[in-house]
Amino acid sequence: MVERRWAVERASVMAALLDAGVPKPQWPESLHWDWSSKASELRLLMASGFGVWCDEDWQGVMLTKTVGYSGALGQDEGKPVVYVDFVESAPWNWTIRAIEQEPRFKGIGSLLIREAIKQSLKEEFHGRVGFHALPQAESFYGKVCGMTMVNADQDKQGLVFFEFTRQQAEQFRSAGGKR
């Protein structure tokens, strides 16, 4: 249901980018993701799902796992983290300056990541959260949220692993990361 609605919007964004002659390297990195062909695999994944529902649409969705990943930083090295497998906001919420697209709703990513921290606290992981961000999202998680860039993970096609320590998670929840 999410993908059917979002796919139409992705197509609209693509059509606008094509019409504007925007070079493909400048397109949103997740624009080409084809979840429709992977739907059956998605259903099999052991993950928790979160979403922001507003105006009769899903404005953003997130999948998390609580097993299989551990922290790499400081006092909590080797201890489990809530691993965010997937976060995306709806295509109409993307800021795309090349086609003058303004987001319908802002702050969807922040809301979802904060929910991951809440899940981490509930699991008694003390707010530890980790994930592999897309390159275009690195500045948001590193500079805005105040997460630590741990390493470029070759097992994940070189995506950078970001981690919230318990202190950084608390800072994010209370004040919104780096100020």
Partner: protein, 164 residues
């Protein structure tokens, strides 16, 4: 799926600040799952542009053509020698149809089977004109009982492109 409540006024102030900061960044996307499912890199999927929209474009092609010709799902299924479940699945836009399904569709809708195969991504030779046509078609139609003028035009353009 869990949903969250942001009615707390402290949350609203926090959210205002984060929303403003988030708007300055190009993306918030996280991609571990995309790597695991093999959908991360467009370079690894030559037909990526078409495949993204293939399921939606083909779903809309069938749905709009069927509605234009005032056929029920049952009637279309009978004409195409498909089951009703297959037609419903096709129109859901959640899966890229198999070659057999596309062949059956091409027996009813006057379009080229080869071009349907291209749009669906079953043929690896990239046809950018078709890919872009599928993108524009998928972007232009809404699901409504009666076809709007815009839908009529979009369907006409896409069928013509597939028939050439």
């Amino acid at each position: 799926m869990s949903t969250m409540n942001t009615s707390n006024p402290i949350d609203r102030e926090w959210l205002r600040r984060m929303a403003d900061a988030e708007e300055q960044c190009p993306s918030i996307s996280v991609g571990g799952l995309a790597v695991d499912l093999g959908v991360l890199s467009p370079e690894r999927r030559p037909m990526a542009l078409a495949a993204v929209n293939a399921a939606v474009a083909l779903a809309k092609l069938v749905e709009l053509w069927r509605r234009q010709h005032r056929l029920t799902v049952e009637e279309f299924a009978k004409r195409a020698n498909l089951t009703e479940a297959e037609v419903v699945g096709l129109e859901s836009g959640e899966i890229v149809p198999e070659p057999r399904t596309l062949f059956q569709v091409s027996q009813v809708i006057p379009v080229s089977y080869d071009k349907l195969m291209h749009v669906a991504g079953h043929v690896r030779q990239c046809d950018e004109r078709l890919s872009n046509g599928a993108v524009r078609f998928a972007a232009r139609s809404e699901s409504m009982e009666k076809l709007t003028l815009q839908e009529e035009e979009a369907l006409h353009d896409f069928v013509n492109l597939l028939a050439q």
